[in-house]
Amino acid sequence: MFLISVSAAHLLRLYERFQFLDKDNRGHLRPEDFEAVLELSENPIGDRIVEAFFKPGQETVDFPSFVRVLAHFRPTEKNRNRDKGQPDPANSRTRKLKFAFRLYDRDRDGKISRAELLQVLREMLGMQVTEEQLQSIAERAIQEADLDKDGAISFDEFRKVGPLELGSAFILLTVRHLNDEVSSLSYWRSG
């Protein structure tokens, strides 16, 4: 579909990883499998990331979906040929942001409410911060981004605050090593 540069070696590597995580050889992963990754439990938003792998309602993820999620983290290609009518590839800026947005927006209503932001903050901030401070931070953060003053951050607002300012200095959700391997996503879609 887009930019097929199947690198068998890389795909194999990911598949090995998938099998490694899939302890019981079920052919799909469950949340518990992710929890076996010890470092994830050290990650304050690890749960959210794991959640992002699962479609709502589903409790398993198979390899193609697994790769599809990881595809968000490929570096954005600057000069990919834009064919109209094609959906954005997963590593486009918008899709990446969307992915990040969903990390906040747990109830999937298209808005980051104050409560949701507060929840994220609570997970990411140390214990020393009081609830009051947390709330004032959340309040301010919402205020900063909330352009239409509805008390929540919509995706458009979300898109405006971060990456524009960050420019090229910040590598928006890009894992260097996912460079080649997940470009083979389309291979899995067709196959």
């Binding site: 050290e42 938003i45 609830e131």
Partner: protein, 848 residues
């Protein structure tokens, strides 16, 4: 008015200068005989000869003189002081014409002023009495500039771009030196220069002294054009580090020239390369050691706070001199000294001392930068050094520009293959164009030995021309170029809170994805260093008190509150009176009124609320602004800033640190990758709690019910002040909510426990000295956790929350704090969900 004043100032300047100039010959005539034959006698070097034969003591006195004229007694220091004054006055004049500096960079103007001053001296003396000598420059002017650069260096930015900077600084500089030398030599062989006596080695020597981009010039020009920070750090870092390279190259080729072409064999060349590494790394090491020394010293300077800032300067200077003594790279030494110590000394020293260091550093650096430029201008007006050779000079200029660009493009092309964010073309152009040469090159050129290099004056002259061309012409055109090319500028907007949160979320997300996909990064050294730093360095080099996060938070709080208070006072004074501060009766009245109203209206609720202080406190908090509502409005803008800072600090200090994004393979073997065990513990507990929660709720991925309907709540809040409404609705849940969260978090971090619950928005222990007798409980959060878990009943919670409803606990500035708070109020209101709140992890913890 302004112009008249400026004219007067300029006149005064001229007078000073001319008086200096007329004074000079007399001075010079007495000095020359004692001088080592250098006509470029500088004030500092002449000074050393001056002590012996002051005229004042020469003749035997016959009678007691009431006053005597002792000019020679003070000549040297007098000249130094006067020149400093004159240079700074130049800057004053320039900065007074502010519109000029928007077009012409200050450094260029200073050089032009130098021309004028030099011309006046020349006119009076017919010989250049003053010029920039290498000794003055390298020993008295350069160190503080570099120290300041090191001290103010954005370390994180520097080290993340370290690879690129090193490549530019080392390979780029060698490339510049080699190509310039060889090309000039080639042109010489081709006959472009006419008849001059310069060999290949001497060309290479010249190339090496011309190769380095000058930090002083770069700072001066780039500071005014605000390019994006990556570009800035690349140019700036390169200019700093390549000084080490240049000095080494210079020394090596200088030695080679002395040895003569025949004596150079492979062994000597290898020695040259070895010496390069020794000099560069040795210099850095010395700087590092001295940096640690400074940090250690400031650990125990509590009792001599007054001179505490002095240590940084003295030890920084000592590191420079020590490196110079060991013939290592002095510039690198003092640079690294500044960079190493900044974190620790800022944490160790008292706030006032930190401010002092910061300002004094700027005074020295800026001052000597000014002097450097002025003297660069003055040095030009000297007939002796002007040896014109069109071919040599023009070719040098051309080659410098061309090879700089080629070098930058070539190296960037290679670097971009490895960089995640490539350096784009426009930035490369600016980097190439930003290759300004400056006083370092000039200083080195003057250092050349005339006996070995016949054409020294030609080289000095060429160097000066290159310096003028790059600083004046390129500096002048830099700004339009930057605008024309639309170079990404530094974002002037402050980093927003939400952005900070986002960055952090992204960072964590990346790490999580790396973990899941089983990919391993390769920033092993960086990670190891960080670990080591946190484990040992901070422990050794920081005061125990500075190490504790809580205390840092506390001081931040304190500062911000002071600031708030200052603003408050200013605002009050602007409005004519601070009456409302003293007028506490309003507050008390109000309290009485509401308390009464409440107990009257709903006695049963009030009974409840005696327990439920949170409810009551929010009640009390609300109406406070009514005391000074306008004031509140007025203050809002100012306070916003302060509060924003407050929040930024909070975020900065308490966000969980992401593990390094890239780890090396080796670290896989152990699990404790996250350096901060406590943090890991904390996160782990939370995660477990969450899981327990989701396990209980039975389903994965069920979103918590959305409880907030914003507008309804807002109305709710509007009604709040007249009470009645509060009631059961937000009563108990409210209480549970904030109690649960504060139990482990707040109490652990602040010694003054009751302040939080004391209501009226008093969250702020900094203002509550009268509560000091509450024994400070420094329980780190993890311990607090543990404690709570050991004691599952947690009987103290109600007790903790119980508030003595006492006047004494409402602190004096409460109306201020509450006015800031009331801004947050809506958030708080909205947050408190009347229907069953989303599952609270913190409550869960208590049951664990």
């Amino acid at each position: 008015m302004g112009s008249r004043w400026r004219a007067a100032l300029f006149l005064c300047l001229l007078m000073v200068a001319s008086s200096l100039a007329t004074e000079a010959p007399a001075h010079e005539t007495t000095e020359i005989p004692n001088h080592e034959g250098t006509s470029t006698g500088n004030e500092t070097s002449t000074g050393s000869h001056d002590d012996g034969h002051g005229d004042g003591h020469g003749a035997p006195i016959t009678t007691l003189p009431i006053v005597t004229w002792k000019w020679h007694h003070v000549t040297a220091p007098y000249f130094v002081a006067l020149w400093v004054l004159v240079s700074w006055l130049c800057k004053l004049v320039i900065e007074a014409n502010h519109h000029v500096t928007t077009y012409i960079p200050e450094s260029a103007l200073l050089i032009c002023f130098g021309f004028i001053l030099g011309g006046m001296i020349w006119g009076a003396d017919k010989v250049q009495t003053f010029s920039l000598t290498p000794t003055t420059f390298f020993f008295y002017l350069l160190p503080q500039v570099i120290l300041d650069a090191g001290y103010a260096m954005p370390n994180k930015l520097f080290f993340t771009n370290m690879g690129a900077i090193l490549v530019y600084a080392i390979i780029g500089t060698c490339w510049n030196a080699a190509t310039l030398g060889l090309s000039l030599w080639g042109c010489h062989q081709g006959g472009a220069m006419g008849d001059i006596d310069i060999g290949l080695l001497q060309y290479l020597l010249f190339g090496s002294l011309m190769a380095a981009v000058d930090p002083v010039a770069v700072i001066a020009v780039f500071e005014q054009v605000h390019v994006n920070e990556v570009l800035f750090i690349l140019v700036f870092g390169e200019s700093l580090l390549n000084d080490g390279v240049t000095v080494v190259l210079f020394n090596v080729f200088d030695a080679f020239v002395s040895l003569g072409g025949g004596a150079i064999d492979a062994k000597e060349i290898v020695k040259g390369i070895v010496s390069f590494f020794v000099v560069a790394f040795g210099g850095s090491l010395i700087g590092f050691v001295f940096g640690l020394l400074v940090a250690l010293l400031t650990r125990c300077t509590k009792n001599i706070q007054i001179i505490e800032p002095g240590f940084i300067f003295v030890l920084g200077y000592l590191s420079y001199l020590t490196a110079e003594m060991l013939s290592l790279s002095a510039i690198l030494s003092i640079l690294f000294c500044g960079m190493c110590c900044q974190k620790y000394i800022n944490a160790n020293m008292a706030e006032t001392s930190v401010e002092t260091v910061r300002y004094a550093m700027k005074v020295f650096a800026n001052g000597s930068e000014t002097i450097i430029f002025v003297f660069l201008g003055i040095s030009a007006i000297d007939k002796v050094i002007w040896v014109w050779n069109t071919g040599f000079i023009l070719l040098t200029l051309l080659f410098i520009l061309v090879y700089r660009f080629i070098g930058v493009f070539l190296l960037t092309w290679i670097l971009n293959k490895f960089r995640l964010v490539p350096i784009d073309f426009v930035d490369q152009v600016i980097m190439g164009y930003g290759g300004l040469r400056g006083a370092v090159a000039y200083g080195l050129a003057v250092l050349l030995d005339e006996t070995k290099i016949k054409e020294k004056n030609l080289m000095v002259c060429t160097t000066l021309i290159v310096v003028y061309f790059t600083v004046i012409f390129q500096g002048l055109t830099m700004k339009p170029l930057v605008q024309w090319l639309r170079v990404k500028r530094a974002a002037h907007v402050d980093l927003m809170l939400i952005e900070k949160v986002q960055n952090k979320v992204f960072e964590h997300a990346l790490i999580a994805i790396e973990d899941i996909s089983g990919q391993i990064g390769h920033n092993y050294l960086m990670d190891k260093w960080k670990k080591f730093e946190e484990k040992w360095m901070s422990w050794i080099l920081m005061k125990p008190s500075a190490r504790k996060q809580q205390d840092r938070l506390f001081t931040v709080f304190h500062q911000l509150n002071l600031k708030d208070a200052m603003q408050y006072v200013n605002e009050g004074e602007r409005r004519g009176s601070l009456e409302f501060i003293r007028n506490e009766s309003a507050f008390v009245d109000f309290k009485k009124k509401f308390g009464k109203e409440f107990s009257d209206a709903m006695p049963d609720i009030m009974a409840d609320m005696d327990d439920d202080e949170d409810g009551a406190s929010s009640m009390r908090r609300d109406p406070v602004p009514s005391v000074s509502l306008e004031m509140h409005e007025q203050n809002m803008r100012g306070l916003r800033g302060a509060e924003e800072m407050n929040s930024h600090h909070l975020l900065e200090q308490h966000l969980y640190k992401g593990r390094k994004q890239h780890r090396h393979k080796f670290s896989r073997s152990q699990f404790g990758i996250n350096q901060d065990e406590d943090e890991v513990q904390e996160i782990f507990q939370r995660t477990m709690r969450n899981r327990l929660e989701s396990f209980k709720s039975g389903k994965m991925g069920v979103a918590p019910p959305k409880t907030i309907t914003k507008h309804a709540k807002r109305e709710d809040q509007q009604k709040m002040p007249n009470g009645k409404h509060k009631g059961y609705q937000s009563g108990d849940e409210d209480f549970e909510f904030s109690e649960g969260n504060s139990a482990s978090g707040y109490d652990a971090s602040f010694p003054v426990r009751p302040s939080y619950i004391a209501g009226a928005g008093i969250v702020n222990p900094a203002f509550m000295p009268d509560l000091e007798d509450w024994s400070p409980v420094h329980i780190p959060p993890w311990l607090a956790d543990a404690e709570l878990e050991e004691d599952p009943v947690a009987p103290s919670e109600r007790a903790q929350v119980r508030l003595p409803w006492m006047r004494g606990h409402l602190h004096r500035l409460s109306s201020l704090r509450s006015s800031t708070r009331s801004e947050e109020q809506p958030g708080r209101r909205d947050q408190l969900p009347p229907p069953p709140p989303p599952p609270r992890p913190d409550r869960e913890e208590d049951r664990l």
